[in-house]
C-alpha cells in the first residue's frame, strides 16, 4: 500500500491508513481500537495496563534502546511538546532519567523543584497543576509523597499525567523498566522478544526482598511481574510484609492466575530463583519499631554472594536504587557479575522515552482516562 506506515488501531486494513481526515483525529467511535493501540491518556498505575499494553511498551522500548545506541541519541518525535517534571519528593536519578528521556525525544523540558517553588508559599497541588498547564505543559510527570496525588493532578490537567511515584502506591516506570531489564536478560530465548510474545516470565521464579510494606516499587512490580507470568515471591521480616498475605491469598486483583507467595524465609525464597530484587531499607523505618537494627536486617536478609548460591546459576540481581550497600545488598553483589543494576538505569531512560512517546500520541478524551 502506498502509505506504508503502520498505525496502531489502523494497521494494514484496506484504505484505513490513507483515510485520516485532514488535520484532525478521527472520532474514536468510527474506528474501534485494534490490538496494538495505546489508549491510555494517563499512566497513573500499572494495574490499568493489559498484557498487550505492556508488550507494546516493551517493544517501543526496544526502539528507544536502538535510539540510545546511535551516535546522536536524539530523535525529533516530541519536538514542540512541553514536558513538565514536577517532583514533590527528593529524587535525583528518576528526575534526571525523565529529563534525559524527554530531551532525547526533542521535547521541551521544564523542571520544577518544589523546594524553591510557590508550593513553599502554600500553593495547592491543584493550583500548581493548573499553573503549569497555563504555562504550556502537555505532559506532566509528577512525583508526590501522598498516594493518589497523580490522580488528583489528572483530574484537573487536560494533557497527560505520568506518575513518577506516589507514596506507597505505585511507581509504574520503575516496574516497567524492571520488567524490561528481565526481558533483556532473558533475550537469548527468542520467544521472549518476538512481537506479540507471550508471558515471558512463565515458569521463572522472581523474588523481591526487603521493605515490601512501604514500597511503591514492590506494589507496581506485583502487577507487572504477575502479568508476565512470573512465580513471584515476596520476602522480608513479617513486620514489613503486613497485609500482603491476604492479598496473596486473594490473588492480585482477584485474578486466579496472578498468584504470589509471601514468606519471611529468605533461604526458601532464593532457592532456584531466576531473578532477585533487593529493596532499599529506609533508616526511618527503625523508629517505627519495624526493625530492631540495620545490622540485624543485614545479617538476616542482606543479599550476599553466599546466599545467592541457592539461586539458579544464571540468576541476576536488581535494585531500584539508591542502594544501602552492606545493608540490603552486599557490595560485591551490587557490582558483581549477577548485577543488572546499571542496565536498569539505562533501561529506565528507554522505558521513559517509550512512555512519553506513547502518551503524547494518545487521544485526550475523558473516556480514555487512566
Amino acid at each position: 500500500m502506498s502509505l506504508d506506515v503502520e498505525r496502531p488501531g489502523v494497521g494494514d486494513a484496506p484504505a484505513a491508513g490513507d483515510s485520516t481526515p485532514a488535520g484532525g483525529r478521527p472520532p474514536a467511535v468510527d474506528r474501534p481500537p485494534a490490538a496494538g493501540a495505546w489508549l491510555h491518556r494517563h499512566l497513573l498505575d500499572v494495574d490499568a495496563l493489559s498484557w498487550p499494553d505492556i508488550d507494546l511498551v516493551l517493544r517501543t522500548t526496544d526502539a528507544m534502546r536502538e535510539v540510545l545506541a546511535r551516535p546522536i541519541a536524539k530523535v525529533p518525535a516530541l519536538r514542540g511538546t512541553n514536558v513538565t517534571i514536577l517532583f514533590y519528593e527528593a529524587s535525583t536519578r528518576t528526575r534526571v532519567s525523565f529529563e534525559v528521556a524527554a530531551r532525547n525525544l526533542s521535547a521541551d523540558v521544564s523542571n520544577i523543584a518544589v523546594a524553591s517553588s510557590s508550593v513553599t508559599k502554600g500553593e495547592s497541588l491543584v493550583d500548581t497543576v493548573k499553573t503549569v498547564e497555563a504555562l504550556g505543559a502537555r505532559i506532566l510527570v509528577i512525583r508526590h509523597a501522598v498516594s493518589g496525588a497523580p490522580y488528583l493532578a489528572a483530574s484537573v490537567f487536560t494533557g497527560h499525567v505520568l506518575n513518577g511515584g506516589d507514596g506507597w502506591h505505585a511507581h509504574p516506570t520503575q516496574a516497567l523498566l524492571d520488567l524490561y531489564t528481565m526481558r533483556s536478560r532473558l533475550a537469548g530465548d527468542v520467544a521472549v522478544t518476538a512481537p506479540g510474545a507471550g508471558r515471558f516470565l512463565s515458569g521463572r521464579k522472581v523474588v523481591i526482598v526487603g521493605d515490601v510494606l512501604h514500597s511503591r516499587v514492590a506494589r507496581s512490580n506485583i502487577w507487572t511481574l504477575t502479568a508476565a507470568g512470573a512465580d513471584l515471591w515476596l520476602c522480608g521480616p513479617a513486620t514489613l510484609l503486613r497485609g500482603f498475605e491476604a492479598w496473596a491469598r486473594a490473588g492480585a486483583g482477584g485474578v486466579a492466575d496472578r498468584r504470589f507467595t509471601v514468606t519471611s524465609d529468605l533461604a526458601a525464597a532464593l532457592r532456584d530463583a531466576d531473578a532477585v530484587m533487593a529493596l532499599r531499607i529506609q533508616q526511618e523505618r527503625m523508629a517505627g519499631g519495624m526493625l530492631p537494627s540495620l545490622r540485624e536486617y543485614a545479617a538476616r536478609y542482606g543479599l550476599t554472594a553466599e546466599r545467592l548460591g541457592a539461586a539458579k546459576p544464571a540468576a541476576f540481581v536488581l535494585h531500584p536504587g539508591p542502594m544501602n550497600e552492606g545493608v540490603e545488598i552486599a557490595p560485591d553483589v551490587a557490582s558483581g557479575p549477577r548485577s543488572v543494576i546499571t542496565d536498569q538505569v539505562t533501561n529506565g531512560v528507554a522505558v521513559r522515552m517509550a512512555l512519553l512517546y506513547l502518551l503524547a500520541g494518545s487521544a485526550g478524551g475523558e473516556a480514555l482516562g487512566g
Binding site: 502506498s2 485520516t20 518525535a77
Partner: protein, 191 residues
C-alpha cells in the same frame, strides 16, 4: 476489495533487476554503495536489489533498515502513535553512497523524514533514491534516481504494493479510495 493490477510478479522482478544494473552503472562499480530500505516494504526490496547485484557483480552490498516513525511531520495529527518497526544500519554511513529504497514515492514526506534520520547516523557521500512505483503528487522538492514504474494517479486513488516477504505474493494494485467521496482532499501525512 481488489483493485486494478498495474504490476505483476514478473514485472516487479524485472524492475528490480533493471534498477540493480542502474545502481552499479551510476556508481561505476559497487565501491561505497549501501542499500537502506525504509520500513516496511522498502526493506525486502532493498534485500532483493542486493541479491540482484550479487548475481551479476558477485558483490554483496550492505543492507540496512530504517524506521522513520520518529521523524514524521504528522505525529501530532495521527490518532495513536505508529508502532515503531526498528532501525538497523550495520555499516558506517560516513563517506558511503546510500541508496534509499521504498515501495511507493508519493508526496515525498517519507523520503524527507528518511534523509533526516540518515544524517543522524553519519555523513554519507551521497544519498540516492530507488522506488518501485512513482505515483506523482510530490509536495516536496524530491525526485527518485531509479524508478521501477511511473504510474499516473489521482489523489483519490491508493497504490498498494504487495511483496511475498510480507504479503505472501508479489503485485502492485491501484484502486479508488473507499472513502474518497467523504474525506477529500487529503493532505497525506507521510507517503
Amino acid at each position: 476489495m481488489t483493485g486494478r493490477r498495474i504490476m505483476t510478479a514478473d514485472e516487479i522482478r524485472r524492475a528490480v533487476v533493471r534498477i540493480s544494473h542502474e545502481l552499479v552503472e551510476k556508481q561505476a562499480g559497487t565501491a561505497g554503495l549501501a542499500l537502506v530500505g525504509i520500513q516496511r516494504r522498502g526493506v525486502p526490496l532493498a534485500r532483493r536489489l542486493a541479491d540482484a547485484v550479487d548475481e551479476h557483480e558477485g558483490v554483496r552490498l550492505p543492507v540496512g533498515a530504517l524506521d522513520i516513525t520518529f521523524y514524521r511531520d504528522d505525529l501530532s495529527l495521527v490518532a495513536a502513535q505508529p508502532v515503531v518497526k526498528g532501525t538497523e544500519l550495520p555499516f558506517d554511513l560516513n563517506g558511503a553512497t546510500i541508496v534509499l529504497v521504498d515501495d511507493v514515492l508519493y508526496t515525498g514526506r517519507t523520503i524527507r523524514a528518511a534523509m533526516d534520520a540518515l544524517v543522524d547516523f553519519g555523513r554519507p557521500q551521497a544519498i540516492r533514491l530507488a522506488v518501485l512505483v512513482d505515483r506523482g503528487h510530490r509536495e516536496l522538492p524530491i525526485r527518485a534516481d531509479h524508478v521501477g514504474k511511473n504510474v499516473p494517479t489521482s489523489r483519490e486513488e491508493v497504490v498498494r504494493v504487495h511483496l511475498t516477504e510480507i504479503d505472501g505474493e508479489d503485485d502492485v494494485e491501484i484502486e479508488r479510495r473507499v472513502d474518497a467521496a467523504v474525506v477529500e482532499p487529503i493532505p497525506e501525512g507521510i507517503v
